[in-house]
Amino acid sequence: MRQRNIGDVILDVRNISLAFGGVKALQSISFDVREHEVRAIIGPNGAGKSSMLNCINGVYHPQEGEIVYKGEVRRDMDTHHAAESGIARTFQNLALFKGMSVLDNIMTGRNLKMKTGILAQALHFGPARAEELREREFCEHVIDFLEIQPYRKTPVGRLPYGLQKRVDLGRALAAQPQVLLLDEPMAGMNVEEKQDMCRFVLDINDEFGTTIVLIEHDMGVVMDISDRVVVLDYGKKIGDGTPDEVRNDPEVIRAYLGAGH
């Protein structure tokens, strides 16, 4: 039923290498992401998947390589630039703002779009107020989309894990990203939760044409929803292609059997 219109390369990662002290997390990794596609990064634990995402949105700064995003070549990203130019992400181990409500978390995801100054804010008048209301409405659409209306005002800490994951996604979505990096969005979820999450990811991709780069352990999920897959193993890229190609790649199979998957 899903008919796709994959565009050109929007994000191109070129021989990225990253090391922490002696530890080589990534060794000259290259792959590209096309607009509107769902791109999966898989690999055993410690393969450097999260590090890869962290390089893409500027949390880490690779020692070598370059990142081409929307035609702009950069040595490395910085988080603010990444966010401003439409890259958002979710986190593997929930990184929600636990002191805030669901709504506030999502509103915070909207922060870049909110510009009024401190004085206006303090007086809560005119533009500041209008902006607040406008963005609230936008965030309500996100809440609606992710079907978390009943929890709007609940402190995120009180939500079950699966829902927290959803809020995390909502926070990223609030920024209306062009590229959405999902770090194991379904980790630790039960079957229904996974199905829901899959549905949301696909809907996001359909409805907003958001390009999605996701890390996922659940092979079934990856093979179902992703258009192309990169396989990392111990910081090296050992496979890249459509789910079928990857599934039958002997190298990949070996790595996975080796890693006990």
Binding site: D144, D206, E207
Partner: protein, 651 residues
């Protein structure tokens, strides 16, 4: 007089026009969407309806056509109903959970050409049956999510439909008003499908006259004004929902509120605080259960407070509500209770502002009923059905009881046929079953009486009392009426009794099989230090037998007070050694007892009862969860219960 619109406004579209004129700026509908209660004034609603109506017309929907509407409680559902009616089409509400095969029949039967549905799920369902359903030409969907890539020509977004309508309206200015003017009160207004127990569902056709008359009577009786707030949370396809949230709203001009999602109904109810509320007994029961459960883990003090004041309420609350005389000290205590308990409780239940609350459809337990009334919530019973446009009997304030459903409301005549069946004459009767004259003739005799299929009694105060389905009512040997379900219900209202089967058709006395409620009886026994090994053992404890006997005798006492049923007092009963179970064919899947089957299966017991024996050995087959078949056997004691002289009251 609650300022109801003039009788000249005799169709819903005209009523809508009237309100748009006299109270155009007042809220007509609210929908919790995007976190707030988006409000639509009567004028806005009128505009929306106009646009949709014109859109449908432009899309080729014609006077007399049927249009299917499948959706949750959302404003567009009600707007579409009004829109269809504006151009003389007949809206047919369908349940969201209806399965494809049901849809197929309805779509064929009503020759549906247009369908307005909620979302992808419903669209898929309708598309799936398109081939069999034949005529379906247009499907409008409200929520585009997931439908982006659908290319079927039938599909149109609801948004689009309204846009089309606005253009069409601009192009043909006079069109809409002309169409509304064409409508006659004798026209078919809506069609409601009732799923009969057997065979295909029947389409109940109601005219404007019928629906509006009933709605108006209800409003006048309760003095409903345009200040009411109702929460629309029951399926719109159900006639009750249509009456309470559409017909009456359009008559009285009050505001209908649509909850945000199925999961938020309770909290939305807390926010809105409806003033006019309907719920089937089941809902009230669940509410009460949740209250008791939540109170259980409350602090000691709170529990004590609650217990004490509920006691006060039970004593005083009902009487206060019925405006009877109550002593000052009691009034004071109740006032205190209201401050500390009832008030807060009503608040958390969302019932602080309820002026009128109805329940109907099933017999409601007296305790349950009393609980809400004692809280100061004006809960009343009502009797009606799809065919009678709901309002047949309603309990007027001050004449409320758990047993009756009140006297007939204005315009209704009641008659009990010789077989005990209730016959109804009312302006609200159905016009016909759509394209089913045979069925129509069955229920609607040409002397104008509608055969309800319910067996009822009219008591000395002229209050109707529904006792059973007519077909289940039998006769005792002496010819007295025997209504098993009525007796069984009375028994089941006791917490200790889970299931009951009343026997006695064509016999000289009534007897009963009883299943005890393991948990309740178990606790009761433990409190008294009675040890027991299991279900059978518990049931055969003398103390338990006596407990059940008391219940039975209480029921007998009740029955004795009703002349027609005095003979139905339970002479003997048996506490069964196994729970009646659908897997063993003793209950239907909807857990109604299958008397005939049970009568045969437990033949020996029946003989023992009527053979006057004191105990009887029985062995029965049981199916276990894992499908294995086993046998349980026991020697059951047959108990005798005290009966009471029939109290012949001076009528």
């Amino acid at each position: 007089m609650s300022g109801l619109p003039p009788v000249t406004a005799d169709t819903f579209p005209r009523l809508l026009a009237h309100h748009a004129k006299v109270r155009g700026a007042r809220p007509a509908m609210r929908e919790k969407d995007l976190g707030i209660w988006q409000t639509f004034t009567w004028r806005q609603v009128a505009d929306e309806v106009r646009a949709i109506a014109c859109g449908l017309a432009a899309q080729g929907l014609k006077r007399g056509d049927h249009i299917a509407i499948i959706g949750a409680n959302r404003p567009w559902v009600y707007w579409t109903i009004a829109a269809a009616q504006s151009i003389g089409a007949i809206p047919v509400g369908l349940y969201q959970d209806a399965i494809a095969s049901e849809l197929v029949y309805v779509f064929q039967n009503a020759e549906i050409t247009h369908a307005v549905v909620e979302d992808q799920e419903q669209v898929d369902k309708v598309l799936e049956i398109k081939e069999q359903a034949g005529l379906i030409a247009h499907i409008y969907y409200d929520d585009p999510r997931g439908l982006r890539h659908y290319s079927q020509p039938e599909l149109t977004a609801f948004e689009k439909l309204r846009a089309i309508g606005r253009e069409y309206d601009a192009a043909n200015p006079g069109f809409f008003d002309a169409e509304v003017a064409k409508g006659k009160s004798s026209d078919a207004a809506s069609m409601f499908y009732t799923s009969g127990t057997t065979g295909h569902p029947k389409g109940v056709v109601h005219t404007y006259a019928a629906l509006i008359d009933r709605a108006r009577v209800g409003c006048e009786m309760e003095g409903l004004s345009d200040a009411e707030e109702v929460l629309a949370y029951l399926p719109p396809a159900w006639i009750g929902q249509n009456i309470f949230s559409y017909a009456q709203a359009l008559v009285a001009g009050f505001c209908v509120n649509c909850p945000e999602a199925a999961g938020t109904v309770t909290s939305d109810m807390r926010e809105i605080g409806p003033t006019y509320y309907f719920a089937p007994p089941r809902v009230y029961e669940n509410l009460l259960t949740s209250v008791t459960i939540r109170m259980e883990d409350a602090s000691r003090i709170k529990r004590g407070l609650f217990k004490y004041f509920m006691g006060v309420a039970e004593r005083v609350g009902g009487r206060l509500l019925d405006g009877q005389a109550v002593g000052l000290p009691d009034r004071l205590m109740y006032w205190l209770g209201d401050l500390t308990t009832y008030g807060p409780l009503r608040n958390v239940l969302g019932m602080s502002r309820v002026r009128v609350a109805y329940t109907a459809g099933e017999a409601i337990g007296p305790d349950l009923f009393r609980f809400y009334r004692s809280l100061g919530i004006n809960l009343k019973q009502l009797y009606g059905s799809t065919e009678t446009a709901v309002f047949v009997c309603v309990q007027p304030d001050g004449q409320v009881s758990a047993e009756t459903v009140g006297p007939p409301v204005a315009g209704v005549e009641l008659k009990i046929a010789d077989n005990g069946e209730l016959l109804i004459k009312s302006p609200g009767l159905l016009r016909e079953y759509y394209k089913n004259p045979a069925a129509t003739a069955e229920v609607l005799t040409n002397d104008g009486w509608y055969h309800s299929g319910d067996a009822g009694i009219i008591d000395a105060h002229g209050h109707l009392r529904i006792i059973d389905r007519a077909k289940d009512v039998g006769r005792l040997a002496n010819g007295a009426m025997f209504a098993p379900k009525y007796i069984e219900n009375k028994l089941k209202f006791f917490p200790f009794i889970k299931e009951a089967v009343a026997l006695g058709d064509r016999r000289d006395m009534v007897s009963a099989f009883i299943n005890i409620e393991m948990e309740a009886v178990g606790n009761w026994a433990e409190k008294r230090g009675i040890t027991y090994s299991g279900y059978v053992d518990l049931g055969s404890q003398p103390a338990v037998r006596d407990l059940i006997r008391e219940c039975v005798e209480k029921v007998n006492a009740d029955l004795a007070r009703e002349e027609k049923l005095a003979d139905s007092q339970i002479r003997r009963f048996i506490i069964l050694h196994k729970e009646l179970d659908a897997d063993d064919g003793e209950l239907t899947r909807t857990s109604k007892v299958r008397r005939g089957f049970i009568g045969e299966k437990y033949g020996p017991l029946v003989e023992a009862i009527y053979g006057g024996r004191d105990e009887q050995f029985i062995e029965t087959q049981v199916k276990f969860e894992d499908g294995r078949v086993g046998k349980v056997s026991a020697t059951l004691r047959i108990m005798d219960a005290k009966t009471f002289p029939a109290a012949r009251k001076a009528a």
